[in-house]
Structure formats: structure tokens, C-alpha cells
């Protein structure tokens, strides 16, 4: 019913209902306490208005039971809300395994989005209903924030790092996309729309939209044109570690320690190769800082993610 209420936003994602529920609980709580306090003030103000001093009873110092009551009851209520809110927050933080990727690069003042299949969009995002979508986002300049009110999700987008968010749209329609972190003069124009479509409509859109080559293909071409493969190949004559089956693996580092090979690690290794050197290798790789744009790095990341170890060489992964 709230969907038709003009003072209430669309509710169109798998978490939006849960966020609304805690919202309404808090509204109820606020009305209860707000009305309680205001009613007491009004009643006391008029009942005792103009009471002569001598008519009053013995002076009141306070009351320990009352103090305890209005300390412990609010404390209990707030802890309920805390747990409730934290559960939603963690659900929002962890994307499901079946999520598809979309890569986002923000800049003053536009959103550049790339689908893995190669479609590029500016300020618009087309997604199928019911499908979980995971965004990997970075910024080319200042901090932005990706915000879709109908999905009740928001995530800051920072330069020099990846931030992630995910959502599963539950209702078709066109929804606002806003930049929520002030980013300069045309901050209020850094807006767009999210089109949530039936799967068959989405397929039609995919085939109709002018698609560049898929991301990993673009990434592979880049990989070859930058001559990455001269060093990053299979042992024994490799000067750099093999990238096959790298993504998601634990990597032992030179000088001790381990790290997970996630998107951040790959990006960092391209831009600042000496930061985390794989165990057993010399720090020989040149830096690509300033030579590759954020979108190109995302293509390389997408390509490296596809480099799965062949089934036969599974024992090779150790």
C-alpha cells in the first residue's frame, strides 16, 4: 500500500522492505515517546499553571526507580534497534554468490557503467528484475556516492580504491540514481536512472544496445598490447608470477605475510607493483600509474578474473 502513498519512495529491492520495517518501528517509537513527552508537558503546564507556592506539596528531589526506568527501558529499546539495523547492514554488505558484475567509474560529473558483456552506459543502468547485481566502483577524481533511493542502498565511491555494493531489484520500473556525496559544482546534475526490466526485455535491450567487445576481451587485448604476457606466463621461464587461477587465491608475499588476490590487490599490483611482491619473485615490474585509466584497469581485472586454471592442472594450484 505504501507504494501508492505519494509521500513515500518506491520500494523495489530485496532489502527495501526490511529497511522500511525498521523505519516504521522507529516511527512508532518516536510517535509514542514524542506524544508522551508533549502530552505531559501540555498537561502539566496547564494543570499547574499559576499554582500558588504555598499550595504545593512537599518538595520533590527525584526518584531513583523512575531514573532507572527511563534509563533501562530506552537502553533496551535502542539495543533492539541496534541489532535489527546491524543485521540489515550485514545483509547489504555481503553479495550473494550468483551476483553479476557491473563496473562503475565515477567522475565529475557523470557515472560511467560497464557491463561484463561490453555494454557501456552513461548515467543509466539497465538491470533485470530478480537478478542480484554487484557493483565494483571507483572514482577518477573526488569522492562520489552511488545512491538508489528505491533500493535503499548507498555507497561512497572513492578515488584510488574499489568500493562495492550489491542489490537485487524486485520490481520493474525506472528509479532515480543520485550522487549523494557532494562532489563540486554540478553535484546535483550527477544523476541518472536505473531501469529494472523483465528478463526477456533485458535480453532484448542487451542485444539492441551498442555493445563494445566484452570486458574480458578488451582486457585480454590490453594484456597483450601492454606485453604483460612476456613476464606473466607459466613457469619455468616466467619472470613474473602466473596469473592463471590467481583471482580469489591466497598469495604468499615476499618478506612474509599473505594476501587475498581480490580486485584491490590486482589493481594495486598494476599501479604500485612493489607494494606486495609475490614470494619467490624479484620486484622487476614497472609501474603503470598514469599510463592506464581506471576503466582500462577494470578491463584488466575482468580479464584476470577469467583466467581459471584448467581442470587438468587443478593439483597445480596447491
Amino acid at each position: 500500500m505504501w507504494q501508492d502513498f505519494p509521500l513515500f519512495p518506491d520500494s523495489a529491492s530485496s532489502v527495501s522492505g526490511r529497511v522500511d520495517a525498521v523505519f516504521f518501528f522507529l516511527i512508532g517509537l518516536s510517535i509514542f515517546f514524542g506524544v508522551l513527552i508533549c502530552a505531559l508537558i501540555v498537561v502539566f503546564a496547564f494543570k499547574y499553571r499559576g499554582t500558588p507556592l504555598r499550595k504545593r506539596g512537599t518538595p520533590i528531589e527525584g526518584s531513583l526507580p523512575l531514573e532507572l526506568a527511563w534509563t533501562i527501558i530506552p537502553l533496551g529499546l535502542t539495543m533492539i534497534i541496534f541489532v535489527w539495523g546491524a543485521r540489515i547492514f550485514f545483509a547489504e554488505s555481503i553479495p550473494p554468490a550468483d551476483a553479476t558484475d557491473v563496473y562503475v567509474v565515477a567522475k565529475q560529473w557523470m557515472w560511467k557503467l560497464q557491463h561484463p558483456t561490453g555494454q557501456r552506459e552513461i548515467n543509466n543502468l539497465h538491470i533485470p528484475v530478480g537478478q542480484a547485481v554487484r557493483l565494483t566502483m571507483t572514482s577518477e577524481d573526488v569522492i562520489h556516492s552511488f545512491y538508489v533511493p528505491a533500493f535503499r542502498v548507498k555507497q561512497d565511491v572513492l578515488p584510488n580504491r574499489y568500493s562495492r555494493m550489491w542489490f537485487r531489484a524486485t520490481k520493474t520500473g525506472v528509479y532515480h540514481l543520485f550522487c549523494a556525496e557532494y562532489c563540486g559544482t554540478k553535484h546535483s546534475e550527477m544523476i541518472g536512472h536505473v531501469y529494472v526490466m523483465e528478463p526477456q526485455d533485458y535480453e532484448r535491450w542487451l542485444s539492441g544496445a551498442a555493445a563494445d567487445e566484452p570486458l574480458e576481451v578488451a582486457g585480454r587485448k590490453l594484456f597483450e598490447s601492454q606485453r604483460c604476457d612476456t613476464c606473466h606466463k607459466e613457469p619455468p621461464d616466467a619472470r613474473g608470477p602466473s596469473l592463471v587461477g590467481l583471482f580469489g587465491r591466497q598469495v604468499a608475499l615476499e618478506g612474509g605475510g599473505e594476501t587475498v588476490a581480490n580486485e584491490e590487490y590486482i589493481r594495486e599490483s598494476i599501479l604500485r607493483p612493489f607494494a606486495k611482491v609475490t614470494k619467490g619473485f624479484q620486484p622487476l615490474m614497472p609501474t603503470y600509474e598514469g599510463q592506464l585509466g581506471e576503466e582500462q584497469i577494470l578491463q584488466l581485472v575482468a580479464y584476470i578474473k577469467t583466467l581459471k586454471a584448467p581442470a587438468a592442472g587443478a593439483e597445480d594450484r596447491r
Binding site: 529497511v19 513527552i37 499547574y48 500558588p52 542502498v153 584510488n160 563540486g184
Partner: protein, 547 residues
């Protein structure tokens, strides 16, 4: 400032106002009361400058398209509105004016511990203000009052540096004021004035001073690093050369969240005084109200991360900050309940200060409760950086601090200037302020949940109706602020001469003449009673005016 009128004796007794009229005696004064007046004048100036920017913003937001001013201008408007009102009105407001005037008087001292330092504080404040006003006049600044890097450090090409220096300088004014209050409250209490006989206004200022002392240096160093970043590209906050912009947010909010309590704690102190006086009762649960001020000051230092739930900090850090943010709500709730209980069986007089105080409790309750929405992790992700946040902090800052400031100004005006203001007009203005305020900011809660982001120059059409309501409210609110300005100035010359204790209040400041002599008291007072001893036979009932 002559006090001679037809109703007054031909020559008013010597007091701190008429002891010397020269410019020098004002600009080089070390009398805390005169310094309070200097603050009153300068803070009123900043209040109306900041308010003027708000008016322009609300006019722009009347229509969805950005048609009244350019986007660039709009961004400067909200930046300077926030900067001026936060750093030059809300933070120094109540401590600078009412705190300066009343802290020594309430504890029975002749002055603050370091009178020259106190004057220096005001000059530092003015110097910082001049830098900021220079930036405003030279073309403004557009980073938002939060100065988030790397926009402020690298991308903005407005007067960030001048404003940064202004904020840096004015911070030292806060530090010195807080230091002065702490030392004064510790060492200069009159004989018999034990800690638990102190008025709650003093407790509130003590807690505020702790925050000023511990928090302000951190913003000073942060702004200094920002300035160096802009000047020399030292790289600490610039991600392009390895810096971390999130560190800036941590350092900024480490001060700026406690700064919220610098703004609201003194307001709570004022409300305690006013409620007790106009209910003619001791504040219910005095020690709980006192300790809750200290609890807020301490807990307030550990909740800054709730401004950063969507910035990409670790979700576990977010958990800790969320639970602590819920905890800091409890002492505020304790205060609200205790004020309400104070009214029970009181002898209530709905005079102007009391109207503001009762309005404060209602509005602050809403402001506090909506704070829970923002502490709640899953919900904050949605409403963060929307108008919901704007509405929330205006309920606390404008509905809370500004209303309490007005309550305090009306309550102590007769003491400060020896004149009464027109009561009927003042009550009327209080009601106008209350209505205008709610009409301005309540629609913004709805706008925020609908998803309208803050700091938007142009917005989607479905948000218009609520924005029009808000602008209508703002015009009423603006009028509500102009009325007191007019009649208070008028009262300086034409107001009825005030008695020593026109509201039959308790407290040492009411035992001396209005306005007080330069040394505050004829003799050092000796305190034999608890604060708010309204039930003792001290009051002459004939003297006690109800209604």
C-alpha cells in the same frame, strides 16, 4: 547606554554598563560581562549573515529547476551558511554570551580566572571571523562546511585557504574559553558552593569545556594539514599521491561530532535553569541531569564514525560506532524525562523564556529520536546525506540550540541590561518561531526518506510540494527571529526598568543588582543551600507574579 528614563531614578546606580562609556573601555575591557556583550553583538551579526544565506537557499529551492542562482553560487551559499552558523554562531554562541556573563556570577566569583585571556579569546574569534568574511566577500567557498578531501584539497578553486585559516584561528578562541571555564569552575567557587550545589548551567558548561579542550586542537591540526595540502601538495590527504581521504574524515569528525555537543550541552544548561525557575521547583533528579552532561561529553568522543557508515570503513568499526551512538542517546533521554518530571506539581508560569524552553523539549525530543534512525546501520545507509539528516540536525541545532539561546537571552536580558522587554510581543514571537521552525524542517524528514540528497541545487519534480512548504516555513521563521531583534534593541532605551530579580528566580546572579556592578557582588556571597531551593521560605509570595 543611558539608563535614565521617566520611570527610573534620575541616576541609576553604578553598574558595569555605565561605569565608563569610552570605546577604549569596551574594546580593552577585561570584565567578563562586557566581553559577553561584545560576543553578543558579534554573534548576532554572524547569525543574521548565516541566516541571510539560508533565505537565499530556500528561495532557490522553491522550484525544482536551478533557476534563481547558478549551481556554483548555490554551493557557496550552503557552504557559507554552514560554516558561519556552525563555527561563528552555534559553537561560540551560548558559551560566549551567556556562559561568559553567567559562569562567574553563578558561582559567586568576581570574574573568570584569566580575564585577559578571555578578552584575547574574543579578539581571536573576531580575527577568525574576519578571515572568513574576507573569503565570503572575495567570492566565497564551495566545499561544504565539512571540507571533504580530495575535493577541498585539490579540486575546489574557491577560497578554501582563507576559510581554513579562519576556522583554525577561531578554534583557539574556543580552546581558551573552555580552559577559562574549567579553571574558573574548579578554583573560584564562592565559599559553600560545592560541586553538587552548582547550577546545572555550570555543569553543562563544564562538560562543554572538556570537549572544547580535547576536541578543538584536533580540528585545528586537521585544518592546518588541509591548508598545507593545498599550498604545498604534501600528499597526506590526496589519493593521487598516496594519501588517504578517509583519514581526513576521521580527523574531521573526531572533532566535529563532539562539536555538536559543544552546541547542545550549554543549551541544555539554559533549559534546566529556565524550567526550574518557571516551575518554581528544584530540577527533578538534579544529579542525574548533572552526570548526564558529563556522560554526553565523554561518550560523544567515541561516536564520530557514524558519519561514515557508507564511506567504506570496516563493517566491524561501523558496528562499534553504531552501538556507541545508541548509548549516547541515553543521557539525552534522561535529561528530557527529568525536565518533564520537573514540571509535575510545579507552580508554572508560561513566560517567554518558559515558552521557548517547553518548545525546546518537544523539538529536541524529535531531534533526538530521529538521531536513533541515523545510528541504526541498515537505515542510515538509506538516509545518510539526504534531507533526513538535514532535518535531524536542524531539529537539534536550530530547534534545540537556537531556541535555548533565545530562552536564555530572554531570561537573563533584565539582568544583563536592567530592562524588561514587551512580554506580549515576546510570547507572540516565541510562538511564531516554534511554528515556523516546525513547518520549515518537518517536511525535510519526509523529503529525506523519499531520497532527496542534500546539497542539491536542482531536484526531481516529485520533491517540490514539500520544498515549497519548507520555504514557507522558513519565511515565518525568519520573521520570528526579526521580531525579538527589534524589541530587544528597543527595550535597551524604552523598556521598563528591571528589578533585581524580576522572575523571582534562585541563583547567585539574581542576588545582585540589575545590571550588576563591575565586581558582580558587593560582598563575596556565602552559599548555604542547594541549587534551585525554591521550596524554602525565601520567596516573598506577594512578590511572586504568576502567569
Amino acid at each position: 547606554m543611558s539608563t535614565a528614563t521617566t520611570t527610573a531614578p534620575a541616576r541609576a546606580p553604578e553598574n558595569y554598563l555605565n561605569t565608563d562609556y569610552s570605546w577604549k573601555s569596551w574594546l580593552l575591557t577585561i570584565d567578563h560581562k562586557r566581553i559577553a556583550i561584545l560576543y553578543l553583538i558579534s554573534i548576532s551579526f554572524f547569525f543574521f549573515v548565516g541566516g541571510f544565506f539560508a533565505v537565499l537557499m530556500r528561495l532557490e529551492l522553491l522550484t525544482p529547476a536551478g533557476d534563481l542562482v547558478q549551481a556554483e553560487t548555490y554551493n557557496k551559499l550552503f557552504t557559507m551558511h554552514g560554516l558561519i552558523l556552525v563555527f561563528f554562531f552555534l559553537i561560540p554562541g551560548i558559551p560566549g554570551v551567556l556562559g561568559n556573563f553567567l559562569v562567574p556570577m553563578m558561582i559567586g566569583a568576581r570574574d573568570l580566572a584569566f580575564p585577559k585571556l578571555n578578552l584575547l579569546s574574543w579578539y581571536i574569534f573576531i580575527t577568525g571571523g574576519l578571515f572568513t568574511m574576507y573569503a565570503v566577500a572575495a567570492g566565497g567557498v564551495d566545499t561544504g562546511w565539512t571540507f571533504y578531501t580530495p575535493y577541498s584539497s585539490t579540486y575546489a578553486n574557491t577560497h578554501v585557504l582563507a576559510v581554513g585559516i579562519g576556522v583554525f584561528i577561531t578554534g583557539f578562541s574556543s580552546i581558551l574559553t573552555g580552559l577559562n571555564f574549567i579553571v574558573t569552575i574548579h578554583t573560584m567557587r564562592a565559599p559553600g558552593m560545592t560541586w553538587f550545589r552548582l547550577p546545572l548551567f555550570i555543569w553543562a558548561h563544564y562538560a562543554t569545556s572538556i570537549i572544547m579542550l580535547l576536541g578543538t586542537p584536533v580540528i585545528a591540526i586537521t585544518v592546518l594539514l588541509l591548508a598545507l595540502e593545498r599550498l604545498f601538495h604534501i600528499g597526506i590527504f590526496d589519493p593521487a599521491i598516496g594519501g588517504d581521504p578517509i583519514l581526513f574524515q576521521h580527523l574531521f569528525w573526531f572533532y566535529s561530532h563532539p562539536a555538536v555537543y559543544i552546541m547542545i550541552l550549554p543549551a541544555m544548561g539554559v533549559i534546566s535553569e529556565v524550567i526550574a525557575c518557571f516551575a518554581k521547583k528544584r530540577v527533578f533528579g538534579y544529579s542525574f541531569v548533572a552526570y548526564s552532561s558529563i556522560a554526553i561529553a565523554i561518550l560523544g568522543f567515541f561516536v564520530w564514525g557514524h558519519h561514515m557508515f557508507v564511506s567504506g570503513q570496516s563493517p566491524y568499526a561501523a558496528l562499534v560506532f553504531s552501538i556507541l551512538s545508541f548509548l549516547v542517546a541515553i543521557p539525552s533521554a534522561i535529561k528530557v524525562f527529568n525536565w518533564t518530571a520537573t514540571l509535575y506539581q510545579g507552580a508554572i508560569a508560561l513566560k517567554t523564556p518558559m515558552l521557548y524552553a517547553l518548545g525546546f523539549i518537544g523539538v529536541f525530543t524529535i531531534g533526538g529520536l530521529t538521531g536513533l534512525f541515523l545510528a541504526c546501520l541498515g537505515l542510515d545507509v538509506h538516509v545518510h546525506d539526504t534531507y533526513f539528516v538535514v532535518a535531524h540536525f536542524h531539529y537539534v541545532m536550530v530547534g534545540g540550540t537556537v531556541m535555548a539561546y533565545l530562552a536564555g537571552i530572554h531570561f537573563w536580558w533584565p539582568k544583563m541590561f536592567g530592562r524588561m522587554y514587551p512580554e506580549f510581543l515576546a510570547r507572540f514571537a516565541a510562538i511564531v518561531v516554534f511554528c515556523g521552525f516546525n513547518l520549515t524542517f518537518f517536511p525535510q524528514f519526509i523529503l529525506g526518506y523519499m531520497g532527496m540528497p542534500r546539497r542539491y541545487h536542482a531536484y526531481a519534480e516529485e520533491f517540490q510540494v514539500l520544498n515549497v512548504l519548507s520555504t514557507a516555513g522558513a519565511s515565518i521563521l525568519g520573521l520570528g527571529y526579526l521580531i525579538p531583534m527589534c524589541y530587544l534593541v528597543w527595550s535597551l532605551k524604552y523598556g521598563e526598568v528591571a528589578r533585581k530579580n524580576p522572575f523571582t528566580a534562585r541563583g547567585l546572579e539574581w542576588t545582585t543588582s540589575s545590571p550588576p556592578p563591575t565586581m558582580n557582588f558587593e560582598e563575596t556571597p556565602v552559599v548555604t543551600e542547594e541549587a534551585y531551593a525554591y521550596h524554602t521560605a525565601y520567596l516573598n509570595e506577594e512578590d511572586y507574579v504568576v502567569r
